[in-house]
Symmetry: C2
Subunit: 304 residues, 2 copies
């Protein structure tokens, strides 16, 4: 059981209309793990620089996250600087300092090579392939990506996708990657590459699951205040994969539930900057939000 | 029982990446009625010019729609010309020829003044007020509007809203009208004006219902091919109001169901230009689409 996640551990400087943080804990693997660790054992493989404040990860250590695969290399930690406007739906990148990330070559510790659930967070598809080469008999491998790789490495990306079971992707990126305006057609096209499962993230509107021929739509919970959407997609994936790993099954029923758990995690994550909200979150709070999602989308039988 | 709808009956020239029509049947009251008439008796009050091809409304006559309140005035019918791009989410208006609409002053026939359900489709708020002055003891009055009136007549619009029970509005227009980025806050602000019920349309993403303190989210059904989104909001409102009128109740349970019925109607309406799809639609098809919506949003109990 448990999840292996390979992705970035970063320091983020983020500005939104509701405040800002400077070099706060961020990165795809971090946000993913902050969510997944509520539900299942997680191990991170990633890299940080000598400047990285390791105490910032204490909340993950308390949740028994395995950090043995987190390398420290000479140099500075990956740093992303971005700004969100009024509608919070898209970030303007002000700076991307890759730093030690340019030397990153994921080495999966021996004891993690047989992880049943593997999440390839948003990193260079060549590194994602390196991970695939090292893992043995996984039950489920999922992949996230972004516009940068879709534009720069589309062929390589197609090759990695062909080797995973599940692709998580933004709606805009799904359209960009496939050239299809219809998300249904876009998902079908990605499924044709190999993955049986495609999950399209729609930001504040929720998420769509395409599982073989079936479709499920998770609503977006209308929130009073969203402070910072950074990491929403990763905490969504963390909640989703965390639930799959906890249940130990990957079928339509469990996937639908998993997407609701992921949506609940993401809805908390955006309520504060960095991982602040997920640091203090409790299991009863997660359960309460899941119940909100249930109420939000439930309707009685209709007879005409 | 039954619905009185006051709005436009128009000729639309529409171009999308999937085709075009020239002076085809359109207008808010028309699209609304094409949907509502499957579910409940409907009466239209509106105006057309001498050029209007009355035979185009035969399909509504066959559904027993009361057209006695549809005036013909000297001059030409209201004509809208618009174009949609690749993503179909927003129209570019190429021409708005108001024609006889400038002389429109809604006169509600005596036998319709006691209609239980009244829909004030998107027209000048001053005309919407004129309708309110003529109706007696309605069970539910609903109102739709658009950015043009929000910008040009915000005070008058606020006055009409204060006198209705239900406001249907696009998400962009809800944000524009209230100045709130959060749809939850926007809905609460509109509720404070008077209406207990606010429904925010989110295009391909579905719709949100705010009923007193409760919230319901209807998903958007991912469609293979959307040809023309014109009238989607009106057919949504028609299905929604049609169901409320059919059941004869306005409570949370019925409203949630009504929004699903409305979403089903809208999902058919966008599959073809003008009212083409709703002309040939059948009740079994509507039921089948409603079942798709059920499946789309249903998930099993989650225990953590």
């Amino acid at each position: 059981m448990g999840i292996l996640v390979v992705g970035t551990v970063a320091l983020d400087s983020v500005e939104t209309p509701f405040g800002h943080v400077d070099r706060a804990l961020g990165g795809s693997a971090t946000h993913f793990t902050a969510a997944a660790s509520f539900l299942t054992p997680v191990a991170i493989v990633g890299v940080v620089g000598e400047d990285f404040p390791h105490a910032e990860l204490d909340f993950l250590r308390q949740r028994k996250v395995d950090l043995s695969g987190l390398e420290t290399l000479p140099g500075k930690t990956f740093h992303w600087k971005g700004r969100y406007g009024f509608d919070l739906n898209s970030a303007e990148t002000l700076a991307t300092d890759l730093n030690v990330l340019t030397q990153f070559s994921p080495k999966i510790p021996k004891n993690l090579r047989e992880s049943e659930f593997v999440f390839l967070a948003n990193i260079h598809p060549a590194l994602q392939i390196q991970v695939l080469e090292q893992i043995v008999r996984p039950k489920l491998v999922a992949l996230d990506t972004m516009n940068f790789w879709i534009q720069g490495e589309p062929d390589l990306l197609r090759k990695v996708m062909a080797r995973v079971n599940l692709v998580v992707i933004n709606e805009g990126e799904a359209r960009q990657f496939t050239g299809e305006a219809s998300l249904l057609k876009a998902a079908r096209q990605i499924q044709k590459l190999g993955p049986r499962i495609v999950i399209i993230k729609q930001g504040e509107y929720g998420a769509l699951l395409f599982y073989e021929q079936e479709i499920f739509s998770a609503p977006g919970l209308p929130l009073e205040s969203v402070k910072d959407p950074t990491g929403a997609g990763d905490s969504f994936a963390g909640g989703m994969m965390g639930y799959l790993s906890r249940v130990g099954q990957v079928d339509l029923k469990t996937l639908c539930q998993a997407i609701i758990v992921g949506s609940s995690m993401a809805s908390y994550n955006v309520e504060d900057f960095s991982c602040h909200r997920l640091k203090t979150l409790t299991l009863p709070e997660i359960v309460s939000r899941i119940n909100q999602f249930k109420k939000l989308s439930h309707f009685e039988e209709i007879t005409l």
